[in-house]
C-alpha cells in the first residue's frame, strides 16, 4: 500500500473520531457516534498491517507477537467491559484510561531504545513528554481506580510535608527529563519513568473522593496529549489528530464537569493542601435521629400530592433502579405527582443516575435536572433521598471551609418532609456530616435501598 493511500485512510479515521465526539455530545446520536469512533479505530488498526514503511516489509515483523498481544488484549478487555456492573463503570473507565497512558509511555520508550543516538532533539523532547505524562496518567488512574473501588480510603490522603514532597518530585521529574534530553541514556529514561509513576500517585492521593471523576477526566485528556506526541515521533498524522482531539475535548469536558460540581479545577487539584481538617464532630454520631418503618414511609407517601425522588450512589449499589420505578409507578397510579431530582454528579460520575434510571426504563420526562427541580421543593410534600448524601448536604451552602462548600445541591430541605433511605449513619463519599439528618422533618429508613423500597412498595399496596 502506498504512503498516500495509508495517509488518506488515516485521515478518514481522524474524521471518524471527530464525528464520534460530535455524536457523543447529543443524546440522540450518542450511540451512533460511539460506533463511528469504533469503526475509525478498527480501520486505523487494520490498515497498519498492509502498509510497508521504508524500513520494513510485509508481512510485518514479529507478526505472531503482534496478533497474540492483540488477542490477549481482547480476551481481557471485552469481558471486563461486558460484565462490569453499572455501579463499577467509573472505575473501569479510569482503568482503561490508565492502561492507555501506560501503552503510550511504553511505545515512547521502545521507540527511544530503537532510535538510539539517531533521535533528533525534537523527538527526544516529545519522548520525554510522553514518558512523563503517560506514566503519571497510568499510576494516577490506578489510584483513582482504588479510590472508587474503595480498596483504599476515599478521603483526601494528606501526609506531613506532602506539599514539599510533591514539589520535590515534580522538580526531579523535570530535572531528569532535561538530563535525558542532554545525555540520551537508557538509564535516565527509566529513572524518569519511575519518578513519573511516583508523581502520578502523589498527585492523586490528596484528591477527595467526590472529586475523583474530575481527575479521571483530566488524566484522560493527558493521555490524549501523549498519543499526539507519539504521533510526532512515529510520523503518524492519525495519532496526532486523534490524540489532540481527545486532549482538547477532554480539557473542555474536565472544565464542564468541574463547573457542574461548582468547583474550580485548581481547587479540586490542590484544595486538599489548603483544607483544614473538618470539624465533623465525634459527638455528632450520638445525636438523636428519627427513624421510621416502611409502613410510616408508605403512609407519608400515600397522602402526599407531590413527591420528589432523589437517587444517589446507594441506589446504584443496591441495584434498586427497577424497584424505585415500581414505587414511582404505584404512586402515580394513586394520583401522586412524582418527579426524580437528578443532581449532575450524583453517584460516582456525572450522568451516573441518568444511565441507571434509563436502564429501568424510567420515562425521561420524569427526570428533572437540578435547576428545574430546586424551585419546586417548597411545593413538595415528600422528598425521598435514596442513597444520596453529599448532593443534598446543606453544608455545601452554609458551611464555608467544608470540602464541598460551593457545590450546588438539591435543596431537599425545602420540602415539607424528607425521607432518607440509608444503610447506616456513615457520612457520604466526601466524608462530611449531614445536618439534614438530624432535623425534625427528616425520617430515616435504615437498610439496603432495594430491600427497603420493596417493603415500602408492599406496604403502599395495602393502603
Amino acid at each position: 500500500m502506498s504512503r498516500t493511500l495509508y495517509d488518506l485512510i488515516g485521515l478518514a479515521a481522524g474524521i471518524a473520531f471527530i464525528l464520534a465526539l460530535k455524536g457523543l455530545s447529543h443524546p440522540k446520536t450518542a450511540r451512533r457516534g460511539n460506533l463511528i469512533g469504533a469503526f475509525g479505530a478498527t480501520l486505523a488498526t487494520l490498515v497498519v498491517f498492509f502498509y510497508v514503511s521504508p524500513e520494513s516489509s510485509l508481512p510485518l515483523n514479529n507478526l505472531g507477537w503482534i496478533l497474540g498481544a492483540i488477542f490477549i488484549g481482547l480476551v481481557i478487555g471485552v469481558p471486563a467491559a461486558r460484565k462490569v456492573q453499572m455501579t463499577q463503570m467509573p472505575q473501569l473507565v479510569a482503568l482503561f484510561n490508565g492502561v492507555g497512558g501506560g501503552a503510550a509511555a511504553l511505545v515512547a520508550i521502545v521507540e527511544y531504545l530503537h532510535l538510539g543516538t539517531k533521535a533528533t532533539t525534537a523527538e527526544v523532547i516529545f519522548t520525554v513528554f510522553t514518558v512523563i505524562v503517560g506514566c503519571v496518567s497510568f499510576s494516577g488512574s490506578i489510584i483513582t481506580f482504588m479510590k472508587l473501588q474503595e480498596l483504599m480510603t476515599t478521603r483526601p490522603v494528606i501526609f506531613p510535608a506532602g506539599r514539599l514532597i510533591i514539589a520535590a518530585t515534580l522538580v526531579s521529574v523535570i530535572g531528569v527529563g532535561g538530563w535525558v534530553v542532554v545525555a540520551l541514556g537508557t538509564t535516565p529514561l527509566l529513572i524518569l519513568a519511575g519518578l513519573s509513576l511516583l508523581f502520578g500517585v502523589l498527585f492523586v492521593l490528596p484528591v477527595g473522593g467526590a472529586d475523583v471523576p474530575i481527575v479521571i477526566s483530566l488524566l484522560n485528556a493527558f493521555t490524549g496529549l501523549t498519543v499526539a506526541a507519539s504521533g510526532y515521533v512515529l510520523d503518524s498524522v492519525l495519532l496526532i489528530i486523534a490524540g489532540t482531539l481527545v486532549g482538547a475535548s477532554g480539557t473542555i469536558l474536565t472544565r464542564l464537569m468541574a463547573e457542574a460540581m461548582g468547583r474550580s479545577l485548581f481547587g479540586t487539584l490542590f484544595g486538599a493542601f489548603t483544607a483544614k481538617p473538618q470539624d465533623t464532630g465525634g459527638a455528632a454520631e450520638d445525636r438523636p435521629v428519627r427513624s421510621g418503618s416502611p409502613d410510616d414511609v408508605a403512609i407519608l407517601l400515600n397522602y402526599a400530592r407531590r413527591v420528589v425522588i432523589v437517587p444517589g450512589f446507594g441506589l446504584a449499589v443496591a441495584q434498586a433502579q427497577h424497584t424505585v420505578r415500581e414505587l414511582a409507578d404505584l404512586m402515580i397510579s394513586k394520583g401522586v405527582d412524582v418527579a426524580y431530582g437528578i443532581h449532575p454528579v450524583a453517584g460516582r460520575m456525572p450522568g451516573h443516575m441518568n444511565v441507571l434510571l434509563a436502564e429501568a426504563s424510567v420515562p425521561y420526562d420524569q427526570l428533572e435536572e437540578m435547576d428545574e427541580i430546586n424551585p419546586t421543593f417548597s411545593q413538595t410534600d415528600v422528598a425521598i433521598v435514596i442513597g444520596a448524601n453529599d448532593v443534598v448536604n446543606p453544608a455545601a451552602e452554609n458551611t464555608p471551609g467544608c470540602p464541598i462548600y460551593g457545590m450546588p445541591i438539591l435543596q431537599v430541605s425545602n420540602a415539607a418532609n424528607v425521607i432518607f433511605l440509608k444503610r447506616s449513619m456513615r457520612p457520604g463519599f466526601a466524608g462530611i456530616e449531614n445536618e439534614l439528618l438530624y432535623e425534625p422533618k427528616t425520617m430515616l429508613l435504615f437498610g439496603d435501598a432495594k430491600a427497603s423500597l420493596t417493603k415500602v412498595v408492599s406496604a403502599l399496596k395495602t393502603l
Partner: protein
C-alpha cells in the same frame, strides 16, 4: 514531516476538539469521557508500528505489553461506552 504542517494540524485539531464538545448536557459527560478514552486507544497503531521494527528482545517485550494495554483501552473503551448508551434507548418513546 514539516514542523509547520504538524503545528498546523495540532492547532486545528485543538480547535475542533474544543468546538465539538462545547455544548454537552451533564447527562452525557460520562459516556463522552468514556468514548474519548476509547479513541486514545488508537495508540495501538503506534504500538504495532514499534513492535514491527523492534530489534531486541527488550524492545519486543515492551512493545508487546504496549499492544496488550492499548487493545484493552481501545476495545474495552468502545464496548463499555456502548453499554452505557444502550441504557438510554428506552427514553425516546
Amino acid at each position: 514531516m514539516e514542523p509547520m504542517a504538524i503545528l498546523s494540524i495540532f492547532v486545528l485539531a485543538v480547535f475542533v476538539g474544543f468546538e465539538v464538545v462545547s455544548k454537552v448536557s451533564s447527562t452525557l459527560h460520562t459516556p463522552l469521557m468514556s468514548g474519548a478514552n476509547a479513541i486514545h486507544g488508537v495508540i495501538l497503531v503506534g504500538a504495532i508500528i514499534v513492535a514491527d521494527h523492534s530489534s531486541t528482545n527488550l524492545e519486543l517485550g515492551l512493545a508487546t505489553a504496549a499492544i496488550v494495554l492499548a487493545t484493552i483501552n481501545m476495545v474495552g473503551g468502545f464496548v463499555v461506552t456502548d453499554r452505557m448508551l444502550e441504557m438510554f434507548k428506552g427514553k425516546k418513546k
